[in-house]
């Protein structure tokens, strides 16, 4: 039996000719990443194990992005634990405030992750790097600690679902809509323990930013990881960002996929996930009347340049409704500066949005935009669980940057198509 892309990468890192779904293996790690939340909890475990130094100072990455800039004294203490650890180990890739971006936008942008690698991260959205053909998955702090100490970890080789993409997405449809559509179709455990491997003619019509949004939310379907093929679009991205040598893998013709699901991109409408699960989706045509208190545009799902460009295109020359507040957070310093140079920041601020330095804070109800009881937020983030962005009686609706920007103007959830003069 042939192997999937994921299985080939895992076999190569376990020193095995082949692996099969369900097999338990120990694999070498190319990158181990953590943030201020997960490293702070990992450092005591690291010390408990007797480890003195990380396995490779080039391969352990620390990004202070969650509760940084420090949101309170406890967060400040946690960030200090991470800073001390990073300096003690002389980590090459340590990102503190000012150079820090949201990790899953930052690592590919900085060329720290590459195709064919095995990457673990102390953050569930680590699955994002599958967009460039890596095996990449989220772990907790103990796995993170032992990954940093040994450069290895154990994995159960996942079975896989193949998603064959066809057609081209419509004008206001982006990667986020594609993934919300898929999660709505298969459910929040539709890919539990499995790889989601994307392929088909439709892949070529998706930009890298679309693909990052899609693989980012694989965890929202319960998946272990997701992969996209390394095609011309990906190679062009890598040429610009990644100086590391890399290897790309293709699935065997007779690779074993548990399911094959065809997705016609041209049939997907802008999609919104209603509270309180990412799978609770409706197309924009079915949303009804949902007045909003807050709109958030940013995060590891949708804080990249194309997301900002899409929001700016809609907000240009318009004002956000005076019944709500709008937060925009470009995901990395580079994206922030590009937004500045392209005039997007001016557009956002003239429209009445607040623009912030990168942080994950708002998405997980940590800081920067917490919701009160009864408030509704339309957000380009990835989770809308009970209390995700604040009070347990608040509500989060998930959507694309285009729908978020249009809705910010309208004061309620609407399609960009409904705004006059938007092109």
């Amino acid at each position: 039996m042939g192997m999937t892309v994921t299985q080939k990468i895992l076999a190569a890192h376990a020193g095995l000719e082949s692996v099969a779904a369900g097999q338990l293996i120990e694999a070498k790690l190319d990158i181990v990443m953590g943030n201020d939340i997960t490293i702070a909890l990992a450092v005591p475990e690291f010390r408990k194990s007797g480890a003195e130094k990380v396995f490779d100072k080039e391969k352990v990455v620390v990004v202070l992005d969650h509760f940084a800039p420090n949101k309170d004294i406890k967060a400040a203490m946690n960030c200090k634990v991470c800073r001390d650890f990073a300096r003690e180990n002389q980590l090459t890739h340590f990102f503190d405030v000012g150079r820090m971006g949201i990790e899953h936008a930052l690592l590919p942008e900085q060329g720290i992750v590459a195709p064919g690698e095995v990457i673990i991260g102390g953050d569930s959205h680590t699955c994002t790097y599958g967009a460039i053909g890596a095996f990449s998955t989220g772990v907790g702090s103990t796995d993170l600690a032992m990954g940093m100490a040994t450069g290895e970890n154990w994995f159960k080789v996942p079975a896989a679902i193949k998603f064959v993409l066809t057609g081209k997405p419509g004008k206001w449809v982006c990667g986020k809509d594609v993934m919300l559509h898929i999660i709505g179709r298969i459910g929040v455990d539709g890919a539990l323990y499995r790889s989601m491997e994307f392929c088909g003619d439709g892949v070529a019509s998706l930009s890298m930013d679309d693909r990052f949004s899609i693989t980012n939310m694989a965890i929202e379907a319960g998946a272990k990881n997701a992969t996209f093929p390394v095609d011309d679009v990906c190679r062009a991205y890598l040429a610009e960002h990644c100086a590391k040598p890399w290897t790309s893998y293709e699935a065997d013709e007779d690779a074993d996929y548990e399911q094959v699901i065809e997705i016609d991109l041209s049939a997907i409408r802008p999609t919104v996930a209603f509270p309180h699960l990412p799978s609770n989706t409706r197309t924009i045509d079915e949303v009804g009347d949902v007045p909003l208190d807050q709109v958030f545009i940013g995060s590891c799902t949708n804080g990249r340049l194309e997301d900002m460009a899409m929001a700016a295109r809609i907000l240009k020359g318009r004002k956000v409704a005076d019944t709500l507040r709008v937060l925009v957070i470009p995901a990395t310093p580079t994206i922030y500066m590009q937004c500045m140079e392209l005039g997007y920041l001016r557009t956002f601020m003239e429209a009445g949005c607040a623009v912030s330095t990168p942080t994950c804070g708002a998405c997980l109800g940590g800081h920067m935009g917490i919701l009160a009881a009864g408030e509704k937020c339309l957000s380009t983030t990835n989770r809308n669980f009970v209390g995700r962005m604040g009070h347990v009686e608040s509500e989060v609706y998930l959507c694309s940057p285009a729908v978020a920007a249009a809705s910010a103007v309208a004061g309620r959830i609407v399609s960009p198509e409904s705004l006059e003069g938007v092109e």
Binding site: L24, I37, T38, A40, L41, P44, E45, K48, S49, G50, A51, E52, F55, H66, F67, K71, D72, K74, A75, N78, G122, D123, S124, T126, G138, V139, G140, S141, T142, D143, A145, M146, A149, T150, E152, W154, V188, D189, L192, Y193, I219, G222, K224, L277, L364, G365, G366, I370, R383, F385, V386, G387, R388, G390, V392
Partner: protein, 165 residues
């Protein structure tokens, strides 16, 4: 591993880590303080009502969402002796094994045990007994590799031999 015995607290599908331990408390690293917020958004009285040794029962996809180890830590340090669910989300599953929180997958037990039933678990055999009704259920046994990981007391002890100074 010590067997579990306690009162059942029953939860539904897709209990996610934001519900188990809200993001607002991720600046906390003290496990006892984390335990004081366990399941706060789902059942604010859970922490008050649960006694050491009690057992959590849940349906499909327990622990979905974030990779925060704070979630299983809050359950462990509340004194919960075992979580039984139809299925677990994969990161939660790893985290629970890694920190030594006993968990078992058993759909029949998850469906049939009612809140307040007294439940016992034999970890050697995987047999779950509802002492209130007399029903017994057989959980999926762990593969040998994971049994070894658990026997070592979690991943840190398991990894000690491999760490170069």
């Amino acid at each position: 591993m010590q067997n579990a015995h306690g009162k059942a607290f029953v939860f539904g599908d897709d209990i996610n880590t934001d519900v188990i331990l809200p993001g607002a408390y991720l600046n906390v690293t003290d496990p006892k303080e984390l335990a004081s917020h366990c399941m706060e958004s789902e059942d604010p009285d859970f922490v008050k009502n649960a006694r050491p040794g009690d057992i959590m029962i849940a349906q499909k996809n327990f622990g979905c969402g974030s990779s925060r180890e704070h979630a299983p830590l809050s359950i462990k340090y509340l004194g919960i002796s075992c979580v039984i669910a139809s299925t677990f989300a994969r990161i939660f599953f790893r985290n629970a094994l890694n920190i030594g929180l006993p968990i078992l997958e058993c759909e029949e037990a998850a469906k049939n045990i009612k809140a307040g039933d007294t439940v016992s678990v034999d970890f050697n055999t995987g047999v779950i007994t509802n002492e209130t009704t007399g029903q017994t259920f057989q959980a999926e046994p762990f593969p040998p590799f994971m049994q070894n990981l658990i026997a070592c007391g979690g991943l840190v002890n398991y990894s000690k031999g491999k760490i170069g100074k």
